[in-house]
Amino acid sequence: MREEIKLTILKNLLEEVTKKYDYFISQKESMLEKTYQMAITDSLTGLYNRYFFTDRLHYEIHRSLRENLRFYLIMFDLDNFKPINDKYGHLKGDETLKNVAEIIKNNFRSYDIVARLGGDEFVVLAFLDKNDIKQRLENILQEIEKIFPEENLSISYGYLKLPDDLRDILEKNLNNKEENVKIVISEVDNIMYENKRKRKGLL
């Protein structure tokens, strides 16, 4: 009789211990997940941060060369953002950046990678065709110009089709992650600034 009771107690104790162990593991996993999310997220906008983006860009360059795939790297930079910060304060500036982030994110799909590089610079890795991208960029421009019309807030952008636009350089530096990422970002930045210069007169 006592032996049976002892066995039941031991069985129940082990169940409790296992339950607690499972809970402990799930807590650890959820903490790790939280920590990872914090490490890859831009705290202001909730978009991916520069760290995650550059890592993913390198991965996608590698994959596109290996599997003969195409993707677009788009860079955005706000126009007339500085006066908002100066006139209305940083809180308003932050709120504007959040709105912009939301607009860009909502105009792409969940598969596409939308990140904030820092300041008022945003980037997207989009797995779409050119016409589709052009339409989305047009939408983004229109929506952003509605946020702060009194300060003429707008956005400039530039894009690259990868790996095609830089194939030779990328293949040459295939194993040099930093170099490839640096070249690609610098190139799309130049394109974006060229566009910004062209639009300057209009703005």
Binding site: I5, T8, I9, N12, L13, E15, E16, V17, K20, F24
Partner: protein, 378 residues
């Protein structure tokens, strides 16, 4: 030191004492000191009168115990250890009649601090479930370390006419809410702590506790719910079943098992223990059964033997809950001690044990342990 252990199960206290005295006259007539254990069924008001009448001495102390150990016998009656010094050993008695007296803690600490080189045997009452805290507070006031010279237990008894019969007795006094300390001078000794319950699983942290009651653990989980779950699928469960799974409270700094707590009762919102539980303490469940416990007893006896070699006698303070877990092997524990140490033994069922922790850092209040001390006149 010459030591003899005797007992009587006579229903009459007077006749039990006469029976013991007659036996003692034949084997140790010129004793120097007597340590008695009295079953609480005897009228406590008669104890002082009859001991003085039968033994004609004031060199004695006594205490309540529902069961006492006389060598490997378990006795529900009167038991006694008679001692006769052969060299310069001596016994002093220190008593606190009421631990709720303001200066009782300081007085005790001062007494122990000024007698650091002596052995102190503490026998206490349940003291309205305050003695566990008294021990822990006393530990903080001890001015020396390691603490290797204090051991004892809480008398065991039952409630009668509104009183919990866990009293101590000495010449002319009945101590109802305090304790006695028997201080042995010029003796060699070693204290052994036998636990025997193996810790299981991951650590819990106490979130809400009050006195001897534990309400919640970890993220506020009702501890009573966890405990009830351990009794599921058992027909007509009784609280004694939970004595197979005392909690092992871990040392705050070093994480080793610092003490055990046995469950006294379960309620809807809390679990009541036989000792203090505090917010922030960490613990694990443990499980033990008779063979684990007896193995640990043997290890403990061997350790004491290594240090004292041939003790004149052994005292065993063994928890009532532990005795339940020992089932049909209750007398085996004492047989192991006697056979290993080759000495007479007096002990009793306790409601808590007092002794050093594993690394002698502190004085602890234990549950479900057997604390032994082997003593030899120097």
């Amino acid at each position: 030191m010459i030591t003899k252990t005797l007992y009587s199960k006579n229903e009459s206290l007077h006749f039990a004492l006469i029976e013991i005295k007659e036996k003692l006259d034949n084997i140790l007539p010129n004793f120097d000191f007597l340590i008695f254990s009295f079953h609480p069924r005897y009228d406590y008001n008669d104890i002082n009168y009859f001991v003085n009448k039968v033994f004609s001495t004031n060199k004695w102390v006594g205490f309540h115990a529902v069961d006492s150990f006389v060598n490997d016998e378990i006795v529900e009656g009167v038991s006694v250890l008679a001692l006769k010094y052969e060299k310069d050993a001596s016994i002093d008695v220190f008593a606190i009649e009421d631990i709720s007296d303001k200066d009782s803690l300081e007085k005790t600490a001062s007494y122990l601090n000024s007698n650091q080189d002596k052995l102190h045997i503490v026998i206490a009452g349940l003291c309205n479930e305050k003695f566990g805290f008294f021990v822990e507070n006393l530990s903080d006031l001890l001015a020396y370390s390691p603490v290797k010279n204090i051991v004892g237990g809480l008398s065991s008894g039952y409630r009668r006419n509104g009183e919990v019969l866990t009293f101590q007795f000495l010449d002319g006094k009945i101590i109802k809410n305090g304790f006695i300390i028997l201080t042995f001078d010029k003796v060699d000794f070693d204290i052994g702590m036998s636990l025997g319950f193996k810790p299981y699983g991951i650590t819990y942290e106490i979130k809400k506790a009050e006195g001897y009651k534990l309400f919640s653990v970890d993220e506020g989980k009702n501890f009573s719910y966890i405990v009830q779950n351990i009794l599921k699928d058992i027909e007509n469960p009784v609280v004694e079943y939970l004595w197979y799974i005392p909690i092992n409270i871990l040392d705050d700094e070093d994480g080793y098992v610092a003490t055990l707590r046995a469950i006294k009762d379960t309620h809807k919102d809390y679990v009541e223990f036989f000792g203090p539980v505090k917010v922030g303490q960490k613990f694990k469940f443990s499980f033990g059964e008779k063979n684990d416990i007896l193995n640990e007893d043997l290890k403990t006896a061997l350790k004491v033997k290594e240090n004292v070699k041939y003790p004149d006698f052994i005292l065993n303070f063994s928890c009532m809950a532990r005795q339940y877990v020992l089932e049909d092997k209750q007398s085996e524990e004492n047989k192991i001690y006697i056979n290993t140490l080759n000495a007479p033994l007096l002990g009793f069922f306790t409601f808590g044990e007092i002794g050093p922790d594993k690394f002698f850092k502190k004085l602890k209040f234990y549950n479900e342990t057997s604390l032994i001390v082997g003593i030899k006149e120097r």
